[in-house]
Amino acid sequence: MSKILIRGAKVLGGDVQDVLIDGETIEAVGAGLSAEGADVIEAEGKILLPGLVDLHTHLREPGREDSETVLTGTRAAASGGYTAVFAMANTFPVADTAGVVEQVYRLGQEHGYCDVQPIGAVTVGLEGSKLAELGAMHESAAGVTVFSDDGKCVHDAVIMRRALEYVKAFGGVVAQHAQEPRLTEGAQMNEGIVSSELGLGGWPAVAEESIIARDVLLAEHVGSRVHICHLSTAGSVEIVRWAKSRGIDVTAEVTPHHLLLTDEMVRTYNPVYKVNPPLRTERDVMALREALADGTIDIVATDHAPHPHEDKDCEWAAAAMGMVGLETALSVVQQTMVETGLLTWAAVADRMSYAPARIGQAKGHGRPVSAGEPANLTLLDSAYRGEVDPAGFASRSRNTPYEGRELPGRVTHTFLRGRATVVDGKLA
């Protein structure tokens, strides 16, 4: 593999530096590096970040290849600047055995757009009643470290306790989709003023908050660590903040859409806005932004949830929940967090690369941009302005709420271990 010189980029939004890649590794970082024998990428004015890591992606393979496959999903990830994604376990069959997680892992390796770290189910079939073979999945070639029944809450307190205890044996983490099932029966959107007006079943904030409160206390009780998926309410933020202040080992994520959109959008009855957890209020959005800024929320995770067109082109109640997010995540974070002054680019690198890699133990990812490190990098043209056009998405699905909306920033290059997966904004 030849050498690549990224010339004149603002590394983590800070100093202008050259970065020389040799093979799979960053050889040098500094000013005025020699371009001899290297392909040169002129990066003046652009931001260089460590390759992004998504702890919460739905790749849909096996089972729902009409929505997404490991190939199309990892191409979407690369387009969005990601070099590693954690693939959620709610596939068909469910990723609750070593066989399924190895299959997903190998597909990721074969396609080579992005490292795929499978997430294993906590319970057999996501049914919430019997622990899956967590150890076997950990010992498999996929080396699973994150376990989640995402899409379903591990609502039985005893099962949750056992899972938290059990994964301590190999340093795993349980990622909880916090949703009290009885409080959200028939839920269609955030419970509040808008749901009452629209006559759509309400998903109350307390259904999320009560599970988070329980789980941080369980984690404390058994001395384990817990990760909370997609926080969506101001109250959830308060609980996580309290838990951290108490020394409980909890981490938390927020999605880009919960940083930008509110339940007011649901007035359109357009199912592109139907997502779980639901879009909340302006007050919640502001609390989530603040919490991501002050570190109460550790990471941004996309909850990329592809669905075919026909599953969204219908009435609200019949529509599938979820939206795609890999290709717009960095732009939404730029708009909501960087351009508002809440996060520096260096902090974005933390929330979207270092911290998710650390929580998920993604080897070789979320590393500093410095000599000797794996060359997993993302180059961003932050000055770019343009309307989102889903027709250009690499994902197999188009269920984005941002169609036609102007979002800033565009990933021009992505490098996975020194190999360009995206060049000039196009997949390599």
């Binding site: 759509l200 082109d313 529509a319």
Partner: protein, 325 residues
């Protein structure tokens, strides 16, 4: 007026009064030997019912036929519509057949709005009840009934319901009738009070243009019309209230309670009435109870809505009156 009637909130005060006045004209047609107007001759109206409701469907059908429209009834209940795309498919079929208006009843809140705004179909859409969202023609017929009874058929022309005190009692949370009525009655200047156990009061109700009370007995003496809402027995299993007996003791309307209302006050019910839990037979059969009138008025109001959305500027109704003279 807007092109579609999706929500009672779509109507301005003038729109609503115009509909009520037009309905008053339409009501006169019902008294003629031949109950038919030529207004919608050659126009096709489809009654698209994804949810069973014989009463509402028959009411619309009668209205359509009295206006000489060609009527297509499409009942799509059961398994074939469990997958959402069939609403779109059905809409496109109707579009291809060239229907001039769609009356839609659907179990999912927002389905008529989607139908009207997604580009699936071009024709005006009339919401005949969607999920727990809206049922605007029900609200219009209720308002029409109140205006007739409280002001009078002729004296009421051009009038709204300013200053009238209306009480809605029961399962507000799941009631599209309550939502529609609160919107419309407020637009017409009435003061609305909702009475229900706290479990059946929607979150966010504080932003609605009405009062909320848990105490029926305190509200009744100051009420011009009380509207009893349907309480489905399965709500009991979901712990919305302890027992049927306790519900009817606190929120049911019996003769004794009715006696606390002013002389002129009406008792209304959107039907079908389940005698017992929410209303006693004594009340249901009293001459204060307007249930039967509401049914008749439903046809007049729906004629008015169809006429105004579809009939254009033809003075069909005024013409009828001169004929009568």
């Amino acid at each position: 007026m807007k092109r579609h009637l999706i929500s009672a909130a779509d109507l301005t005060r003038d729109d609503a009064v115009l509909i009520l006045d037009t309905a008053e004209e339409m009501a006169r047609v019902a008294d003629r030997p031949i109950k038919k107007l030529p207004t919608l001759r050659g126009r096709t109206v489809c009654n698209l019912f994804f949810e069973d409701s014989t009463r509402t469907r028959i009411s619309f059908e009668a209205a359509e036929k009295r206006l000489s429209a060609d009527v297509i009834n499409f009942a799509a209940k059961g398994s074939s519509v469990s997958k959402g795309e069939s609403l779109k498919d059905t809409a496109q079929t109707l579009e291809a057949m060239g229907v001039d208006a769609v009356v839609i009843r659907h179990g999912a809140s927002g389905a008529p709005y989607r139908l009207a705004t997604s580009g699936w179909i071009d024709a005006p859409v009339i919401n005949a009840g969607d999920g727990t969202h809206q049922h605007p023609t029900q609200a219009l017929l209720d308002a029409f009934t109140m205006r007739r009874r409280l002001i009078g058929p002729d004296a009421g022309l051009g009038q709204d319901l300013s200053g009238r005190r209306i009480t809605l009692v029961g399962d507000v949370l799941h009631s599209r009738v309550a939502r529609s009525n609160v919107d419309l009655l407020h637009t017409l200047g009435a003061e609305v009070t909702l009475v229900a156990p706290p479990t059946l009061v929607p979150v966010g109700v504080e932003t609605w243009p009405c009062e909320v009370s848990y105490d029926l007995d305190r509200v009744l003496p100051k009420t011009d019309a009380v509207m009893m809402l349907r309480v489905q027995r399965e709500r009991m299993n979901a712990a919305f209230f302890p027992t049927e007996r306790e519900y009817s003791r606190r929120y049911g309307l019996d003769g004794e309670r009715m006696a606390r209302m002013p002389e002129h006050a009406l008792v209304m019910h959107p039907g079908p009435m389940v005698r017992g839990m929410e209303i006693t037979a004594e009340v249901a059969d009293s001459d204060r109870c307007t249930v039967v009138e509401q049914v008749a008025n439903g046809v007049s109001v729906r004629m008015a809505v169809l006429y105004l959305l579809l009939g254009g500027n033809e003075p069909a109704v005024t013409h009828t009156r001169t004929e009568e003279k």
